[in-house]
């Protein structure tokens, strides 16, 4: 049983490791973007899937992480990339915690609106902090460094992203078995029942905000290195919406769902680029079809099929 359970993750790991050897260079880059988005989706799912706080502002957290990593690398070129990513994650987590506290009072659409507003305000701040962010002109990000190693090629950046993503996915999977994970699950099932059973709901909901922001901040840092160029308009509300689409299409509250959703949305966006004007038309139609025929997302549909 344990062997069979390890089969799929093992196969995925092998695929992850050999991908740059079998795929053309562009698809190595695309895979890095998929992995970055998967980390965000995972972080967002911790928040939305488990503690029912749907955020339309994760592009804001993503941007904080990306700019922190970029500015840190520019100002202090000697800092190893893992430290840079940790700082990006930690700073974003702090913002997330600070933002999560007032959000505790808000539910449903009010929270959605507050997070939407957060995203707008962050984009505006980035545009105006031009001494740090270079404003609308954008910021060129130098390659990440780890000691003597410079991540200057698509393949090396891919491996960096893949390694970080693997660690974060493993952490998310194992989280479910910890006290925090059980608290999140309890809150997902029923906030009131969780509260009645002695779970400090407010503390865990705030923690979820911080944790989610941490994941998104780290992903933002990786994104900065993967694409090499940041500009504030890349972090608009549509990006936040895309993140939400990823977790709903994939499946709320599910780790494989987050990864699947991120893959589907990223690959679709990329694959439909050739259709130019027709791209959003096709993408929209696919979204509608997806939700009509697979309510609850891909993972829910999969488990229905598997049960049959």
């Amino acid at each position: 049983m344990t062997v069979r359970r390890a089969l799929l993750p093992g196969a995925l790991l092998v695929l992850l490791a050999v991908w740059p050897w079998v795929a053309p260079r562009y698809f190595v880059f695309l895979a890095s973007v998929v992995l970055v988005n998967a980390i965000v989706a995972l972080g967002l799912n911790l928040l939305s899937g488990y503690t029912n706080q749907l955020s339309f502002g994760h592009a804001g957290f993503f941007a904080i992480g990306a700019y922190t990593a970029a500015v840190l690398t520019l100002r202090a070129p000697g800092v190893p990339v893992l430290v840079t990513l940790a700082v990006a994650g930690a700073l974003t987590a702090l913002v997330g915690l600070a933002f999560g506290v007032p959000c505790l009072r808000l539910g449903g659409l009010y929270l959605t609106m507050a997070t939407l507003a957060f995203g707008f305000v962050i984009a505006e701040i980035l545009l105006n902090l031009d001494t740090l962010t270079n404003g609308a002109d954008g910021l060129r990000v130098p390659p990440a460094r780890l000691g003597a190693l410079a991540f200057a090629t698509d393949t090396s950046r891919y491996y960096l992203t893949a390694a970080v993503a693997t660690v974060l996915v493993a952490a998310a999977v194992n989280l479910v078995g910890t006290r925090t994970g059980r608290a999140f699950l309890a809150i997902r099932e029923s906030e009131i029942a969780a509260q009645a059973s002695g779970v400090p709901v407010a503390a865990y909901k705030t923690l979820a905000f911080g944790l989610s922001a941490f994941y998104t901040g780290v992903a933002g840092g990786l994104f900065a290195f993967v694409v090499g160029f940041l500009s504030p308009d890349a972090f608009d509300v549509f990006l936040s919406v895309d993140f939400v689409v990823m977790i709903i299409v994939g499946g709320l509250g599910s780790v494989p769902g987050s990864i699947l959703g991120a893959t589907i949305v990223t690959v679709l966006h990329d694959g439909l680029a050739a259709f130019q004007n027709y791209r959003p038309l096709i993408f929209g139609a696919i979204l509608i079809a997806c939700m009509l025929f697979m309510p609850g997302g891909v993972t829910a549909a999969w488990s229905r099929v598997a049960r049959r």
Binding site: M113, L116, E124, I248, G284, I286, M291, L292, G296
Partner: protein, 292 residues
């Protein structure tokens, strides 16, 4: 700044606010009936305005007829969307329906771009351009016209919800869907009518605002302001939607006068956040009691 200039700014703020209020009302109408947030509301407004504009150019229609065309097109679109897509998702979670309306909005915007390009077009206005002078105060007829027309439409909505069978049925469904069904109200019919009504309110807002902001496929983004307005007022409350819209419009127009340009666009959201901190369910909303 003189009082006269201040009055001018506040009045144009109220005009912007009226449009936001109409947008917020159309969101609330659908939300109350179906518990769905309609992401595509702005795009529906945009498409019905485009249809009216195309008809006006092709047939040389007078402006009032153009308005009728916009409203009719919107009604048809609302009916179609509900019938063809949304009704199939009855029983789905509202996250699923949210993504469906998001897909709709992408499709409508792309469709409009394909049919009419993504350029901006001038749209004829009901109102003249010569400012009205009231003593020292100069007011744009467009602002006054938008405010008057919106207030008229709001009065009609009030009458509809208060005195007609349909309005009562919609309020009943909003209060308790199961009880409404047990009382013999066809919930499906209410769903359908809510989508039509919301689309029609949006179409009026579209025809009113298009001369001011130009007609373009990006016009649908106004849904974000409408959503902000509805949340400020308390989502689900119709007077709240109107109050929220007006407040948002005035704040948005006043802010550039007193604040540095850097934070101008953040002001509505800062106001919103401040209001939500004090009143987590908006100005006129009630905090929902959760039961196990």
């Amino acid at each position: 700044m003189t009082t006269a200039a201040l009055v001018h700014v506040v009045v144009s703020g109220l005009a912007t606010g009226s449009i936001y209020a109409l947008m917020a009302l159309s969101l609330v109408i659908i939300y109350n009936a179906t518990r769905t947030l309609n992401f595509a509301q702005g795009e529906m407004l945009m498409v019905s305005t485009f249809v009216a504009w195309a008809a006006q150019r092709a047939l040389g229609l007078p402006l009032p007829v153009t308005l009728v065309v916009a409203v009719a097109a919107a009604g048809l679109m609302g009916w179609l969307v509900e019938r063809v897509v949304i009704r199939r998702a009855i029983g789905a979670t509202h996250w699923d329906v949210l993504i469906i309306t998001l897909g709709l909005s992408l499709m409508l915007r792309a469709g409009a771009g394909i049919a009419w390009t993504h350029d901006e077009f001038p749209f004829p206005s009901f109102f003249g351009t010569r400012p009205l002078a009231l003593g020292p105060v100069r007011l744009a007829p467009v602002s006054l016209g938008i405010i008057a027309a919106s207030l008229g439409l709001m009065a009609m909505l009030y009458a509809l919800f208060t005195w007609t069978r349909l309005g009562r049925a919609m309020r009943a469904v909003a209060q308790n869907q199961r009880a409404a069904r047990l009382m013999g109200i066809s919930v499906e019919r209410v769903y359908s009518r809510a989508w039509m009504l919301a689309a029609m309110v949006g179409a009026v807002a579209g025809v009113l605002v298009a001369p001011v902001v130009f007609l373009s496929s990006k016009m649908g983004l106004i849904v974000i302001n409408g959503f902000t307005a509805a949340v400020i007022g308390g989502f689900g409350s119709m007077p709240g939607a109107v109050a929220g819209g007006m407040l948002l419009g005035v704040v948005e127009n006043l802010a550039p006068l007193y604040l540095p340009s850097g934070i101008r666009y953040s002001v509505p959201f800062l106001v919103l956040t401040a209001i939500l901190l004090v009143r987590p369910a908006g100005l006129l909303g009630r905090v929902e009691q959760r039961k196990v």
